[in-house]
């Protein structure tokens, strides 16, 4: 197994370049923040701003994992169902007296297994990621519902609650987790060979394989990472609600994918924008928070996110003058 010897210029992803790709998102974010500061009473209080950061942190952790996957040119639609299953597993373990530690470990393990399953179906059975994760979305949801037998698993666990209300060093725990995840992902994407390999697979999978990369193993590992991120998401939501439920997380995958896409990571693969994903999470949650403060009904929230998504990318696409063949998405 030979690997192309990376020279600093050619095959390392430049963090600066990538940050520049994501930064344009800061403009709409700034506009929204200013607009809300003026027009929405209660927006600028420290409690409210902390709420926004809290919500963005919960979303950004799976978003970062999804960034990795989309950089690879693929994506995972099943993460919402993983949230339900892992949350249910953790709460069931806690409720039956196995202790919070065991519950959390089991949840992470189940998440990893779902990721492994996705990876194997995609690499060994040759099913395209879009359809494979679509199928596992349905299957894992069924498993979560069967596992809980239609009844929510209620818990009252202070350790689990820490994931929702704990404040180490005065900062809400999810925000700290998000910072750790962000640092880890920045390092993984821009400073390791693994990150370069993922981008290489995204640019041209066949070339990557020909140059000796263990492509299948890398892909499986990325799906496992998403599975674990999904488990963390499930743990955090279950901590907030103090229960596990087979109904949780419906549609979550679209939220995760949305923040990555508006953040500038190209669906064609090969380029990551971690900074963009973070800004995307902040933007979505700020808008959501603002609309809540203004008592705006949910219908308008949906429309606004849709317009944002389309608008942001139309602008980027026009500026890039994307050629016609890029109309095709490789999946």
């Amino acid at each position: 197994m030979t690997v192309l010897a990376p020279t600093k210029k050619k095959s390392s992803i430049s963090f600066v370049q990538e940050a520049l790709r994501g930064l344009p998102l800061a403009i709409p974010l700034a506009l929204v923040v200013i607009g809300l500061a003026i027009g929405a009473p209660g927006f600028l209080t420290s409690t409210n701003l902390e709420n926004v950061l809290f919500a963005a942190s919960v979303l950004v952790i799976p978003g970062l994992a999804m960034t990795l996957c989309i950089t690879m040119g693929e994506f995972d639609l099943s993460i919402g169902s993983t949230v339900a299953l892992t949350g249910a597993v953790a709460c069931t373990a806690i409720a039956s007296g196995m202790g919070t530690g065991v519950g959390l470990v089991l949840a992470l393990l189940v998440g990893a297994i779902v990721g492994l399953l996705n990876g194997l179906i995609i690499t060994k059975l040759g099913v395209t990621p879009f359809i494979a994760t679509l199928a596992t979305l349905v299957i894992v949801r069924g498993v979560a519902q069967a596992f809980t037998n239609g009844r929510d698993v209620i818990v009252s666990d202070p350790v689990l609650k820490y994931f929702a209300s704990g404040r180490p060093l005065g900062i809400p725990f999810p925000i700290l987790l998000a910072i750790v995840a962000l640092v880890f992902m920045l390092w993984l994407t821009y400073r390791t060979r693994f990150g370069r390999w993922v981008a290489a697979i995204g640019s041209n999978r066949d070339a990557a394989r020909l140059s000796g990369l263990p492509v299948d193993r890398i892909r499986i590992l990325v799906y496992v990472i998403i599975g674990i991120a999904g488990a963390l998401w499930g743990i955090m939501i279950s901590a907030q609600l103090q229960k596990g439920s087979g109904q949780l997380g419906v549609g979550f995958e679209l939220d995760a994918i949305t923040i990555v896409v508006i953040g500038g990571t190209s669906l064609l693969g090969g380029r990551a924008s971690v900074v963009g994903t973070v800004l995307g999470a902040l933007l979505i949650e700020t808008i959501s928070n603002g609309l809540n403060l203004l008592n705006v009904p949910p219908a308008y929230q949906r429309i606004s996110i849709g317009i944002l998504l389309v608008g942001a990318l139309a602008i980027q696409a026009i500026r890039r003058k994307v050629p016609v063949e890029a109309l095709d998405d490789k999946h």
């Binding site: 179906i121 059975l125 040759g126 099913v127 395209t128 879009f130 359809i131 494979a132 679509l134 199928a135 596992t136 979305l137 349905v138 299957i139 949801r141 069924g142 498993v143 979560a144 519902q145 069967a146 239609g150 087979g246 679209l254 994918i257 949305t258 896409v261 669906l267 064609l268 009904p297 949910p298 219908a299 308008y300 929230q301 949906r302 429309i303 606004s304 996110i305 849709g306 317009i307 944002l308 998504l309 389309v310 990318l313 139309a314 696409a317 026009i318 003058k321 994307v322 050629p323 016609v324 063949e325 890029a326 109309l327 095709d328 998405d329 490789k330 999946h331």
Partner: protein, 354 residues
């Protein structure tokens, strides 16, 4: 390059002709899912004594229509190398508008509204993808939110309804009428597939749809022509949603923003299960048709056997994976797929054809 050159270039990239004699690959491509459907029906007859009752068969056919009609158009899209995630939102919006139109102007206005709104949605998607160059995944994902959102706003004061007083009206009859024992909605679906087949396999436009999907290179060289074909594909999708809406709301009589959540994924599943490859250039209308019926029959069978909803999901998901694994395994082994061979020689062929 002129249009004829483009067509010749595209044609030169067709896969080499199949060798004579029985080829499993070709058989499976066209009739694979249909065969599984036949097997499943036989199993159903054995396991569920009432399966072949008139009422049950009519029910299965009737409710497959709206999924099938849109799946037909989606097959076009996937063969062209694209897809549309917004069809669920389109269905909700078109349903709401159609019901409102019925209240204002009766059946004629409702029919016009359904077709018109559907085409309008298709044009918006098409414009985003071709003129503004937004990648289809993102454009249609965003529009999914927008279409549903508009439907929600329109139904803020309550869902759009067909009042009970209209029970005997011709409009409501569309959903329940049986012609010679065959549900009208299913007949509409057959017509749509029939027209679709003719357009796809017997017209130049149809051939271009496939050609541009199977060879992004040909698409690149043809620029405007490819863009026009793609716009056509999205408009066809919108039109199909309009027709499907007529078969849907005449059965359900109500709609709001939350109608048919997850519809788009079911449609794409049906098309892919039927043999359409997301890589583009490959698909089968017969396959899609069979896949839609397969899912309906399977659902009916599971429900009649009392299988719980969660297990139904697990089984349906596994069926999808098995079907695609078979297809995926075939493409992993180069010897069994002529198309894959053709694609790997693509660059050489272009050089000699130019």
């Amino acid at each position: 390059m002129t249009n004829t050159d483009t067509a010749m270039l595209a044609a030169s990239i067709q896969p080499p002709p199949q060798k004579k004699g029985f080829s499993f690959g070709a058989f499976w491509d066209s009739w694979g899912i249909a065969s599984v459907l036949v097997v499943l029906v036989i199993v159903a007859v054995i396991l569920e004594p009432d399966f072949l009752s008139m009422g049950n068969i009519q029910s299965i056919l009737r409710e497959s229509a709206y999924l099938g009609i849109v799946a037909c158009a989606m097959t076009f899209a996937i063969m062209n190398g694209t897809f549309d995630l917004s069809v669920g939102g389109q269905l909700a919006l078109v349903s709401v508008v159609t019901l409102f139109a019925y209240g204002v102007g009766g059946t004629p206005l409702a029919l016009a509204a359904a077709i018109g709104t559907g085409i309008a949605c298709g044009l918006i998607n098409g414009a985003l993808v071709t003129a503004l160059r937004v990648p289809p995944f993102v454009a249609t994902l965003g529009m999914l939110f927008v279409f549903r959102g508009i439907a929600y706003v329109l139904t803020q004061n309550g869902p759009a309804v067909l009042p009970y007083s209209e029970v005997k009206s011709p409009f409501a009859q569309i959903g329940s009428l049986n012609v010679v024992g065959i549900p009208l909605t299913f007949i509409i679906m057959l017509l749509v597939f029939g027209v679709g087949y003719v357009v796809l396999r017997r017209t130049g436009t149809g051939r271009k749809v496939i050609a541009f999907g199977s060879s992004p290179l040909a698409a690149k060289f043809s620029g405007i022509s490819a863009a026009r074909i793609r716009l056509f594909v999205f408009v066809i999708l919108g039109l199909s949603v309009g027709i499907a809406t007529l078969t849907y709301i005449t059965r359900v009589w109500t709609a709001d923003g939350s109608a048919q959540d997850g519809f788009e994924l079911r449609v794409i599943t049906a098309a892919v299960l039927g043999g359409a490859s997301l890589q583009g250039g490959k698909g089968s209308l017969v396959g899609t048709f069979s896949a839609v019926l397969l899912v309906s029959v399977l659902n009916d069978l599971l429900v009649s056997m009392g299988v719980g909803a969660s297990y139904q999901r697990i089984i349906l998901g596994c069926v999808l994976i098995v079907a695609l694994a078979i297809d995926g395994l075939r493409t992993k082994f180069p010897g069994s797929s002529a198309l894959r061979k053709a694609l790997s020689f693509r660059n050489k062929r272009v050089a000699t054809a130019g």
